[in-house]
Every structure is written in C-alpha cells, then in structure tokens.
Symmetry: C2
Subunit: 217 residues, 2 copies
Amino acid sequence: MLTFSEENHLKAIFHLERTLPNGVSTNALAKEMETKASSITDMIKKLSEKKLINYKKYKGFKLSQFGMETAIAIIRKHRLWEVFLVEKLNFSWDEVHEVAEQLEHIKSEKLTNKLDAFLSYPKIDPHGDPIPDEDGNFPKIAKILFSECQVGDEGTFIGVKDSSPIFLQFLDKNNICLNAKVKILQKEAFDLSLKIEINNNTIMVSHKTASNLYLQS
Amino acid sequence: MLTFSEENHLKAIFHLERTLPNGVSTNALAKEMETKASSITDMIKKLSEKKLINYKKYKGFKLSQFGMETAIAIIRKHRLWEVFLVEKLNFSWDEVHEVAEQLEHIKSEKLTNKLDAFLSYPKIDPHGDPIPDEDGNFPKIAKILFSECQVGDEGTFIGVKDSSPIFLQFLDKNNICLNAKVKILQKEAFDLSLKIEINNNTIMVSHKTASNLYLQS
DNA sequence: ATATATTTTTAGACTAGGCTAAAAATAATT
DNA sequence: AATTATTTTTAGCCTAGTCTAAAAATATAT
Ligand SMILES: [Mn+2]
Ligand SMILES: [Mn+2]
Ligand SMILES: [Mn+2]
Ligand SMILES: [Mn+2]
C-alpha cells in the first residue's frame, strides 16, 4: 500500500517524463515537488525498493511498467473526481483541482470504476485532459500551444497547460472557454503577443497566456 | 489542520461518550482505537493542546465544544458519503463503511455541503444512523435494542449497532432489512434468543444478533 | 588535463505517531 | 491503614518523511 507522498511523487515523475523522456533528474523532481534534492533521493530509494521506478545512483530514474500503471491509476482517479465535482456538484473548473488532489488517494478500485460508470465513462476532464480507462489506456490528444502557432492557424481551444485557479479565473473573465473556435490573426514580433479570433470575438493574448492554451487543428 | 489520526481519535471519543457521559478513560479509548494506552496518552496531549478536549492528568477526558463540533463534522461526512455510495453508485450497505472511513477525511466544506444538496439532504445513512446537518444538528432517534424488548413489543427495525460487513451480510442472508415491521413473539429464558415476526416471516434470532438490532416502537 | 561548478548523495537532526518497559498515581482489598 | 492491583504516564526506541550541511560524483570550462 502506497502512502500519499509516494503516490504524489509517482504522479510528478509521470508528468515530468513527458518532457524528459530519457529519465528524470533528482533536481527536476525536487523542483516539481517543491522540496529539497536530499528528500528526493530518500524517496527515490523507497520507490526503487518497491519496484516502482528504475534507478541507478547519479543517473536519474524512470517509472517502471508497474510504476507507470500506478501513476496512471492515480491520474485516472484525479480526473474522474474532477468531472464528478463539475458535472454533478456544480463546482467550477478552477475549484476542482485542490479537492481532487485529496480524492485521488482514496483506495478502492470498486469506487473508481463505479464512479466512472456513474459519470458515463467520460473521456476528458474539465481542463481538457484525457481520462485513462480501467486498463490505463487513454488517447494522446494531438494539440499544440497557441504560442507555437503560425498566423492563419485555426482550430479549437481544447485544453490548458496551467490549471491553477488564478489562470482559469482569468480565462473565465475573458470569455476564453473550452471548445471555442479559434483563429490566430496576428503575432506581434516585439512581445510575441497574439491577436486571436475566439468565438467571433477578437482579443489580444500575451505570450504567457498563449503558452498555456492548447489548440487542436 | 487536523491529521487523519487526530480526526479518528476525536470520532472514537465522540462515540465512547455516548456510553461514558462522565468522561472517557485512556484505556477505553485505547481499546476502541485498537492501540496502546501510552499512544493514547500522547495523542490526548496533542488534542488537549489544540483545545479539542478537556483533560486533567489521570482524570480522563471529554470533548470540548470545539472538539464536539469537529467530531460531528467528520461523522456528517462519513454518513453522507455512505449515502452517496449506496444511492448513487449502487454499493451495498456492507461495502460502504470502509470507503467512508477514507472519504470522511477529505477537507472541503464546500464539497460536503454540495454533496449534501446533491443527495437531497438525507436524514439517515444506510445503517439507520442520523446525519448531522451543516450546523451539526441531528435528532436523537428513540430506539431500543431487540435484546431489551419485552415479548409483545412491536415496531420497526430502524438501525444496527454493529455495522461490520460480516453482520450486515448475515442480515441480508436472513432477509432482515431496514424498515421492516417487527413483533417480538417469544423470548427463550435459556439462551435469551428471540422468536420474532419480521415482514410477516417468523424467525429466530440469537441474543448476540438481537443485541445489535434497533427497534423503534 | 586540470580546475571549477553543478548535481547528487550521505550524515545527522527534527516531528508525528506508533511501540515496549518501567515508574508513578489511583483504586481496590485485606 | 497498609498492601496489592490496576490504570495512567513517562522514558526511550523505531519508522516515515522532511530538513540543512557536508561529502562525493559528474559535468563544464579553461
Ligand atoms: Mn487537477
Ligand atoms: Mn484536470
Ligand atoms: Mn460507517
Ligand atoms: Mn453508517
């Protein structure tokens, strides 16, 4: 049985591996977990002992198959609970992450799968992230950041990179909502800000904002 | 912010105070928590430090007003989640307690109150126990154990004292279900077993069983 | 190739929450 | 009232998970 801390570390390694496919470093994980490198070394030893990661001293680490399955199961729970909170309890998309951080650690496969059924097997969570099924499978959704788009690109706003309440509330305030139709009209060379058309409104978004919004073309 | 362990101790003290209204002893709580008296002394000091209980060395302890409110809030969450699991996710009444033991520690007042609303403000949980409202109020339901009844007594089976899976499954097997109409037909002097009529069936129940079933007359 | 900088690990400390064994306080019996 | 039994607390040890500071390994730059 894994502790909350072990589960949180696994999840963080999973997310880091997407940008660091050749292995995660102690410092990278320390930064992600907002903790110290020495604490990571200790935890990494525990996870390695439990066969959740492959680790060679000084050489970084990677999730094992077992660790990968475990991490995906936690992410599945996190995202299902987020859907529950939004769809059934009328939470807004900026309120759910914090609560889901707690709910993702509830240990009951039966609960997870019954919740999945109760929600009619949702495929994406309130932030556009894919929800793994019971077997851990989920599609890799093709998407690029607004900030990487070319002028003229069109598509649908289908997800956020940052899902902090402050960013999500900012999007709400600017009527930038999931599944909106988007067209990149102009890119300012000076500050990389974008002029976009979104749901027939024309607005400016900063580079920082653009680099946290995903477009599916 | 309380730890799981602190919350579990508070809950146990709350339940013990039902039968020990003049204060709970270290040993009584150790037995209830299936731990050692020395561990209880340590925990009691922490809870006292946090003003959750009133404690004088060697003299036992009692929940403070604040401790009482905190314990009731946890019990409210436990019972609401049990209702959710049965009503919405089709768990059976013997499966919910273990999962609710985890869910009761989720910290979000908003979640608790939205869940309450989603469930249409249920008054009792799947085992017949009353659910405190947002302000911590709940009715004291008048009920007596079958084992304390007299021959001829009639009423409704409205709750269980023991809610362990093994006991609940035993009740299921014998078609003893909540809200059944009951009449005490006979009491055997030898072993205190009862002959009862329940939903128009006549069955025998042992003293042990009878002392875990509540009747409302 | 050597010196310097960076990263990673180790060593030792601290807190929370358990434990056992012994001491101290209280309760029960003679 | 004194002795014995029980209950409660203390003292000291353990593990998990964090920290700081120092040592060791690796990477970078002369
Ligand atoms: Mn989230
Ligand atoms: Mn999400
Ligand atoms: Mn229960
Ligand atoms: Mn219950």
